[in-house]
Symmetry: C2
Subunit: 268 residues, 2 copies
């Protein structure tokens, strides 16, 4: 049995909120400190935070002090270093509550969950990646992968390819070119042309299928979600297990449902 307490995802090199170090607001520094935890595997000490954030030790010291007394950072119970604090969840909640896209998608996604019986989720595009904003587990949701905020690259996910398919071809190619193409699983496509071929398929079909592009044994179907102007803002996923489905039957069963769901969102 695998350790479900740790994210099942491979060591996704978290697409770091890179700051164009141009603007050196002190507020940005605060978030630099918090962002130091993005790649982290455990608690970080002051020194580690300083190293990861590129800030001086004194600066980190003061910033950590503030963040701690505000509840955005806390000491590890075992007294080894620091950890992100509970208050961060308050802001995540505000994001979900107030986001109009999420409000629009939520009911549709719940219906889709009921209709498919599989795991469904909604993710929003952020440059080269998709960030999961809403997730509904299936009954047999083994995964700790129901965590909000997880992000995956556009180039090797069903939703990502669905999104790319709704962008001008040169733009899609540019995105793939800017992405670091990592073979997460043995079957991950890393050849730009091969990826673009899949994107083209997705554009025509209106949905994309990805088989174990990131996690072994997983199959996912993605459809794009558009804004009023027709630009893709994110994607809806239906995810299942290859132990139960093959690509054809998965698509036959769920593509119509998923596309109907997305369609309800996209017109208007």
């Amino acid at each position: 049995m695998t350790d479900i307490t740790r994210p099942v995802l491979p060591p996704l090199p978290v697409p770091a909120p890179q700051d164009d170090a141009l603007f050196v607001d002190s507020i940005a520094r605060g978030f630099r400190v918090l962002s130091a935890f993005h790649g982290a595997a455990g608690p970080l000490s002051l020194g580690e935070i300083a190293a990861r954030s590129g800030l001086g030790k004194s600066a980190v010291q003061r910033i950590v002090h503030t963040l701690r007394q505000q509840g955005y950072l806390r000491r590890d119970p075992g007294d080894r270093g620091y950890l992100p604090g509970l208050r961060l969840l308050d802001h995540a909640l505000d994001y979900q509550r107030l986001n109009p896209e999420i409000a629009r998608v939520l009911p549709v996604l719940m219906e889709l969950r009921a209709a498919t019986g599989e795991r469904v989720d909604f993710s929003l595009r952020d440059d080269l990646r998709l960030v999961y904003a809403l997730r509904f587990q299936s009954k047999r949701g083994f995964y700790a992968a129901s965590l909000i905020g997880t992000s995956v690259p556009l180039y090797c996910t069903a939703g990502g390819r669905a999104v790319l398919g709704r962008l001008p071809e040169d733009e899609a190619a540019a995105i793939i070119a800017r992405s670091t193409l990592i073979p997460y699983s043995g079957r991950t496509l890393t050849d730009p042309d091969a990826i673009m071929a899949r994107v083209a398929e997705a554009r025509e079909a209106g949905f994309a299928i990805a088989e174990e592009q990131i996690v072994a044994g997983e199959i996912a179907l993605g459809v794009p979600v558009l804004d009023e102007t027709g630009h893709p803002i994110g994607a809806i996923h239906v995810a299942g297990s290859l132990a139960e489905w093959d690509a054809d039957s998965f698509a036959r069963n769920f593509a119509p449902l998923a596309m109907t769901a997305a369609g309800a969102l996209n017109r208007r």
Copy 2:
């Protein structure tokens, strides 16, 4: 049908991350701006943010600028004011990933979910409130109330009373005294003595039951989760509908399961 896109919870006056305005770090100011959204019902303009955060317009202007280019804030698509940004989810994920308590509770909670078939969740204590850190919907999870980061008061929730029961009596009384006792539903207890009586019951039984203390039609069972020293750090909830259960049968069915689950966590 109710509008499930809006939180089903009553207008919970969000226990605001109050800052003792002593430390006036500029980093704290950044979070003051983000915290302005806690009570908000929609997008906020610069002026509104300034008013809610108690900062000057110029300060807000600059801070918003920074937050926006970092992705922690964005403009409303309809071009009305500002909204929390996607990057906030990255930090929420770090919190969940790295938190040792959550890692400890997760597998147990998933088992409990399977065993009960009802909605289960784990919440952590933050002063006067419990913040939901993990949630697993039931099949008939109508609610958008599966959102992480939602918080509820200690005094009127099953988990809260379970937590209070593991604190010294004077401490529990002090917490209730400091809480603003609001009758969210018609049946919410607001008399301190009555609440303390429930807390005492919870202490003896090892679990607490709360019937529609916040949301009408909901019944919840809470058991405390302790750290190594025996102090309560949070609670596990099992939540169901009064349409299907009465308090007695709910307790008979789920108290043993929930207490076993918590027990597995609490020893050691």
